[in-house]
């Protein structure tokens, strides 16, 4: 109490320099929780990579044979699940023949969930698909990039049985499919290794697969140099998912979640600003 005003001010900035991180945690929680209670959405500017992706997918002819490689697990699902759902919706609209696989053990399960969500959309209530004829889920194979390498030469021996244990030669859709060269297009949803990088290196570079990717925000920076010839489009993180939902015309979860994102980003930035103000204030003090 005996401090004079300037000292008190310094004290304030000193405290601001070292805010207990749990204070930040509380702010972040509130920022993300509150908007969930309100049904607001924002207009989102679509980035060139997502536009490319959407264009590339629209150019794939209806009824084409498309590989869906789902290389992620539940922890990344908040970002990636909306992408998978939207990508399946495009497939339903364009009547793609789908082969679903996963290089992550949990990938095929996630794919099933996303597929379910997509087919339950009222837009597609008239679309009736038959398992084995219109789509198959071949499940997971271990071996990371080795699996892709082998798919380049022979898919039926790489995935001898599907997700439910049925031998692939009993699946009508698999009849004409020998290797990666048979696919007209590929959608990869990826949370890390093995994922988009391996599909680019082994699928696109070696076997000429035409592919697009949805990836977690964190690895998007690593993937963006591949965009162009190797990768025909890329959506990164929840923002990418929201952009794709918007541009493809199938709004979903991602668009809704973007509000909380905005608030949380603002909070992080406010804290960065506070940290810098406090830093300069105390530095002057120290210098003087």
């Amino acid at each position: 109490m005996a401090e004079n005003p300037t000292e008190m001010k310094t004290g304030l900035f000193d405290r601001l320099m070292r805010i207990d991180r749990r204070v930040i945690f509380v702010f972040i929680s509130v920022a993300l929780i509150v908007p969930l209670f309100f049904n607001v959405s924002q207009r989102i500017q679509v980035s060139p990579e997502v536009q490319m992706l959407n264009d590339a997918m629209s150019k794939v002819p209806d009824g084409a044979l498309v590989l869906y490689a789902m290389d992620y697990d539940p922890p990344s699902a908040p970002e990636l699940q909306p992408m998978a759902v939207a990508a399946f919706k495009v497939a339903l609209a364009k009547k793609f023949k789908m082969v679903i696989i996963g290089l992550w053990p949990q990938g095929p399960q996630q794919a099933n969930m996303a597929f379910e969500t997509a087919t339950h959309d009222p837009l597609f209530k008239d679309v009736k698909l038959t398992y084995g004829v219109d789509y198959v889920n071949l499940g997971f194979q271990s071996g990371n990039e080795a699996v892709i390498q082998k798919m380049g030469s022979d898919i039926p021996t790489t995935f001898p049985r599907d997700y439910a244990g049925t031998p692939v030669d009993q699946l009508p859709l698999m009849k004409g499919i020998k290797n990666l060269g048979n696919f007209d297009f590929m959608v990869n949803i990826s949370a890390g290794y093995p994922g988009t990088r391996e599909w680019v290196q082994f699928g696109a570079d070696r076997f000429g697969l035409k592919m697009v990717s949805g990836s977690t925000a964190v690895q998007t920076t690593e993937m963006s140099p591949y965009v162009g010839k190797q990768l025909l489009g890329l959506m990164g993180g929840m923002r990418g998912a929201a952009e794709f939902e918007q541009v493809s015309g199938y709004p979903g979860r991602a668009i809704k979640f973007m509000v909380g994102q905005s608030v949380a980003h603002v909070i992080v930035i406010v804290f960065i600003v506070i940290g810098n103000i406090a830093y300069f204030a105390t530095r002057k003090k120290r210098g003087a």
């Binding site: 607001v40 004409g176 570079d205 920076t221």
Partner: protein
Amino acid sequence: MARQQQSEKCASHKPARMGRASGILLFLMLALSASVVFAQAPNGGAAPRSASDPQAADTKGDEGGSIMLRWTLSPDDSAGQVTGYEIFRAAKPDGPFQSVGFASRGSARFADGSTDDDSAYYYKIVTTGPGGSTETAVIGPARSTAEWFNSNRANVLVIGLLISGAVLYYIASARKGKKLFIRRIAGLEAVHDAIGRATEMGRPILYIPGIQDMDDVQTVAGVTILGYVARTIAEYDTKLEVPTSRSIVMSTARETIKAAFLSAGRPEKYSDDMVNYITDEQFGYVAAVDGIMVREKPATCFYMGAFFAEALIMAETGNSIGAIQIAGTAMPAQLPFFVAACDYTLIGEELFAASAYLSNEPRQLGSLKGQDVGKSIAMLAIAAGTALFTLNQILRVEWFASAGQWLKNLFIVN
């Protein structure tokens, strides 16, 4: 803010969305009916005109067992009258023909990947559409063969040999005792200080060799650096903790530390308890490592190897207990987090350089020099290629462009 959002919700949002949805629906219906109308227009529901100029030849640069078919698209291809091209094959020109595959509308090639080498095959391409199908003349015979060299990849071979050669040359000369200069790497001095700090404080050192297996070269580098850290620690009474995410890394790390303590003359101080396997699962592993951190309160944390999302969880927890943290990884996605949360970070290739620098072994130093040759090639190529293309743009001399393209083609991969 909350109130504003709520009012927005009540006032305008839902109708707007419904309006948009019905707009989309309307548009879809319009587009659909339009496409039906246009699809009917040019050729009134008849069979599409056939693809032309079919060719069948061995697929080049492969292991055999494949014949490549090419054709010119049907003139009706873009009009929506073609669903695709079905490929039929027979052992004799007059059949019987069997379908071997289907190429969708717009594609003008198909690799038949189910041929026996050196047998003759005859093909015909059937253009199918909603109105029927038409076929090309039978072509053949075509035979598939396996090639002994994929000439498309000659440039990879040349560049690979060049860099490998440089690496091996410098390793050889380093082994002969030639002094190779390696610049100081910022952050490496810190390794020694950080070990000293833990000793002074009487608190343990935590070493995380990444979460990948020994087949990842980053893990190999991480374990090599662990050897150096262990050698230094052996001089003091500092406790070392190495939780691992892979069972093979656990046993390798144990042997490495044992050897390091032996070479420091303190084999009696080593115990297997220093290294423990936790789980292969990334987040299960980090849950346990976080637990170790808050319970044992290490003075120094090292993160050297391949990391994924767990990187920041560990680095922030380490920060909250006030540890000095030194990281090194070649996972580009995780570098930003280590740079932000750790005191020192070895960036990408520096991780490999650090393991060379610290181990001071000729083969590691030599290969670092070899990598520098690679980088020189890269920088030269960027400088020369950019200069050539730019000169062409300014002076409009075609020669510059073709020289630049030649250079660029060296790096094009098929």
